[in-house]
Each structure stands twice: as C-alpha cells, then as structure tokens.
C-alpha cells in the first residue's frame, strides 16, 4: 500500500519533470524560430485578436467589479481608523500590483487557454500538425510562436485595461456611493501610486501571458488519445496554467518587491 503510493508519486514526479523539460524545449525552440524569417505576421495578428480583442468584455467586467468591491471592503475596514481617504490608493495599488494582472491572467486563461489547447489538440489528433510537417512547414513556428507572442503582448495590454476600469469602478463606489470627497479620492490616489507599481503589474502580466500560452500550446501540441485526449489537454492547460500563474505571482511579488 505504502510502496504503491510511493511508486505512483515517483511516476508522477517523473512525468511532471519530463513535461517541464519538454515545455522548456518548446519555449527555446519557439524563441529561436520567432526571429528566423519569414515571420508569420498574419497568424500573430489573428492570435492577438483572439487573445486580446475577444477578451475585452470579460476583462472589463472583472476589472469593474473587482474595483467596486475593493472600494466597498476598503471603506468598511479603513473607516474604523478614520482613514476613508485611503480608499483610493488601496483600490489602485491592489489593482495595479496584484489583482489586475492576476485576475486578468486567470480569466483569460479560462477563456482562451482552453480554446487554444483544444484547437491544437484537435489538429494533432486529426493529423493536421503532421500534414504541416510533411509540407515542409515547421508546426512550432506556424502554430506555437504566434500564440506565445500574442500572449506576451496582449496580457499587459489587457491588464492596463483591467486596472483602469477597476480604478473607475472604485471611484464610482467610493465617491458616488459612499460619499468620499472626489478631490481627496483622486489626490490621494495620485500621491500614492507610482509608475513602479504599475510597471510591476505589467511585468507580471507579461510572464502570465507567456505561461498561459506556453502551457496551452504544449498540452495541445502533444495531445494523444483522440477526442478524450483533447478534452484532457484543455482541462490540464487551464488548471496547470492557473496554478503556475498563482505561484509565479507570489515569486514575482517577492522578487520585484
């Protein structure tokens, strides 16, 4: 029983290390291919539209409600110390440093990550990826590179939007609903939030974009086992990418200070 569990644990560890190795190889490969001509600009724009434009609605919704609830909770907590004027900076700092990038990352992973893995997985099991190879086209260059580039470019952009909408949501709740003075709210926010805070969030989101697209592409690209395998690739991608985003968020927070 104990030995059995141990064995299974070992096997699992081995598989995980194996797939991390393969994923890193895919990343190295993609990084190299990214700069060898011809650059697949059309594919990149298509993916940027898919990851970016099509996520706008989700991201705006997430930003708005997060900013609003932050203002509400922040107000309740800060009122006890008579520090209601700090609601603005609380909302803005939380959004810029943590919640903007993380929530954007998680929402877009749920939306686009599963779709990405499903698409590539289907292409794998129906031999479309093999067909690309037989035509002398590198499938990593054609399929993976545009997706990773789109992730790295679009995640920071979406995060900016989440941050912005969140701050507006916080302002509406704080000023219009809870009656904090508008000038104080804005003034305090501008006083406390620095470019560094915003930059930190954007660095994070760039990493999250890389994580999400790499994990989804990896799982899709190496799908086996027909339709069931495609479903598994989608689920695994979302779970793995989400967990990796949360872990790397902590690491980045402690590194970037």
């Amino acid at each position: 029983m104990f030995k059995d569990t141990l064995e299974r644990l070992g096997l699992y560890a081995q598989k995980s290390i194996n797939s991390i190795g393969l994923m890193m190889m895919m990343l190295a490969n993609a990084a190299m291919l990214c700069f060898t001509p011809p650059v697949k600009v059309r594919n990149m724009f298509k993916q940027m539209e898919f990851v970016g434009i099509q996520s706008l609605f989700v991201v705006v919704l997430t930003g708005a409600f997060t900013g609003m609830v932050l203002a509400l909770q922040g107000y309740n907590a800060l009122k006890r110390f008579g520090a209601e004027s700090m609601v603005g900076p609380t909302v803005a700092l939380s959004m810029a440093r943590e919640l903007g990038p993380v929530l954007t990352g998680l929402m877009v992973t749920g939306r686009a990550g599963s779709a990405m893995a499903t698409e590539l997985g289907t292409m794998r099991v129906t031999e479309q990826i093999d067909a690309l190879s037989t035509m002398g086209i590198n499938p990593v260059k054609y399929l993976v590179v545009p997706r990773i580039v789109a992730g790295i470019l679009m995640f920071p952009l979406l995060t900016v939007i989440t941050d912005f909408v969140g701050v507006i949501g916080g302002y509406l709740v704080g000023v219009k609903l809870l009656g904090i003075n508008s000038g104080v709210y804005i003034g305090r926010t501008v006083d406390f939030v620095t470019i560094d805070d915003i930059a930190m969030g954007l660095y994070k989101s760039l990493v999250f974009g890389l994580i999400m697209t790499l994990v989804a592409c990896y799982n899709g690209f190496y799908t086996t086992g027909g339709a069931e395998g495609v479903g598994r690739a989608a689920t695994t991608s979302v779970v793995t990418a989400s967990v990796m985003i949360l872990i790397s968020d902590y690491l980045l927070s402690s590194i970037l200070g």
Partner: protein
C-alpha cells in the same frame, strides 16, 4: 531512389515493422498492399520522416531520412506530396485555402495565379465550384479528393498516397488512376501508394509490394504477383477469407 533497409518500429512494445526492406524506383508507381493494421501507414510515415525508426535506414538518393535535422528534413519534404489516410485537411481553412496553402507558403506566386492552379487541380480530381466550402461541409469522398489535390498542387517529385480511392465510387477511382498515370508520364513523378483497391492496383502498378507481419514478403510486377505461388499473396489478391491468413 528510396532504399529502405532493416526498418524496425515498435509501438508500446508491439513490433509493427520488423526488419523491412523495400526499394522504390524513380518515376515508377509502387503500390503497397497488405491487411488492415499491418503497418502500411506507419511505413509511409517513415518515408517522409514523420516517424523515426527504432532501427534501420531509409535512404533517399543516398541520404538517410532518419538522421536529418528538422531544417534539412523540411527542405527535402518540399519534394514530396502526401495524402493522409484521414485526409488531414486544415479545418480552419476552406477548400481553396487548403489546396493553395503550400503554394502560398513556399512560392512567391500571386493570389490570382494560386487561385488558377487550385481550380485546375480541383477539376483534375473531379471537383468544381467547391472552392469556398468549409471542409466539414464536404462528403468523405470529396474530402479525400481535396486531399489529393492538395498533395499534388506543387507537382511534387515524389507522391505518397495513403488509400487514395477509399470512399470513392468506381468511376472516380478509375479517374484517379488516370491522374496517377498521366502525372507519372508527364512529370516523371515517383508514386508510392497504399491501397486495398485491387482493380486500381492492377491498372497502375509498376511494382506491387505486399506487407505482411512486419516485412515485405513478396514484390513484383502485376503479372508476377498475379502468378505468385505464395499462398498469402494469392489469398490476399483473390480476397478469400480462408487460407494461411486467419481472420480471427
């Protein structure tokens, strides 16, 4: 032109190809026959480097395909055209985009010229006015023919067809046979075909090779194979359930 020596391949411990030898001659039509599940598709995927052998060599003009790097392999693959048994059409593209894809990727041709070639090749496989259809709107036989058109769109030197006539009516099959014969004559194309279609085989084959239990057990011209005394070959070509090959 292609020399396969001692090719061995296993999947999950099960030996599929077991020391297979086969010569494919330039500008000739080689037909590989054999029972379902014997490894014909696996063999053809080795020729174009999609699968790596466990051991053995596949030499194209003296170069071992299995030892090539991705980049070199991609150059060599431009000389090939391949039809997958499953069709493997790109489902994110319509018919015309599928057929014209390699032209767009590998040649500097204008869109109008590509369109013209695509239309021409589609007519060649008996399809007209389907250019703008999505691949999932096509019937099985139409998919197969779009795959055929896509495989020959660059007029490749070497064409690999995995079951080109499966799912086609007999008239269409015969017309595909004519297409194979015509292109072989006009362009000196080398063909490697896998098929279960015996009349089709008899019409086109310069050489028939029979895959059985991981090896080529017999090969020769149509006449030679028809007159073969090998009971396995006879049973297969005559399509009998009783004989040395057991169904169960």
């Amino acid at each position: 032109m292609i020399k396969i020596r001692n090719l061995t391949k296993s999947f999950n411990g099960r030996k599929i190809l077991d020391g297979l030898n086969l010569d494919i001659e330039q500008s000739k039509i080689t037909v590989i026959i054999g029972r379902s599940g014997e490894g014909k598709s696996v063999l053809i995927k080795h020729i174009i480097g999609l699968l790596k052998p466990d051991s053995g060599t596949i030499k194209l003009d003296g170069v071992d395909i299995a030892s090539l790097k991705e980049r070199e392999l991609n150059e060599i693959r431009k000389r090939f055209g391949m039809l997958f048994q499953s069709g493997a059409l790109f489902d994110s593209m319509n018919v015309a985009e599928n057929v014209g894809f390699v032209l767009k990727e590998h040649t500097g041709l204008q869109d109008a010229d590509i369109e013209k070639i695509v239309r021409e090749k589609l007519v060649r496989v008996g399809l007209k006015g389907v250019e703008l259809m999505a691949t999932d709107e096509l019937s099985g036989g139409m998919k197969k023919r779009v795959g055929l058109a896509r495989a020959i769109v660059m007029d490749p030197e070497i064409v690999l067809f995995d079951e080109p006539t499966t799912g086609l009516d007999p008239i269409m099959s015969d017309s595909i046979a004519d297409l194979v014969l015509d292109t072989q004559k006009a362009l000196n194309t080398t063909y490697v075909l896998i098929t279960h279609d015996i009349p089709f085989t008899y019409k086109i084959a310069d050489k028939i090779a029979m895959l059985h239990e991981g090896r080529i057990i017999a090969s020769g011209t149509v006449e030679e194979m028809k007159n073969s005394t090998d009971p396995v070959v006879r049973q297969f070509l005559e399509g009998r359930a009783e004989g040395p090959i057991k169904v169960y």
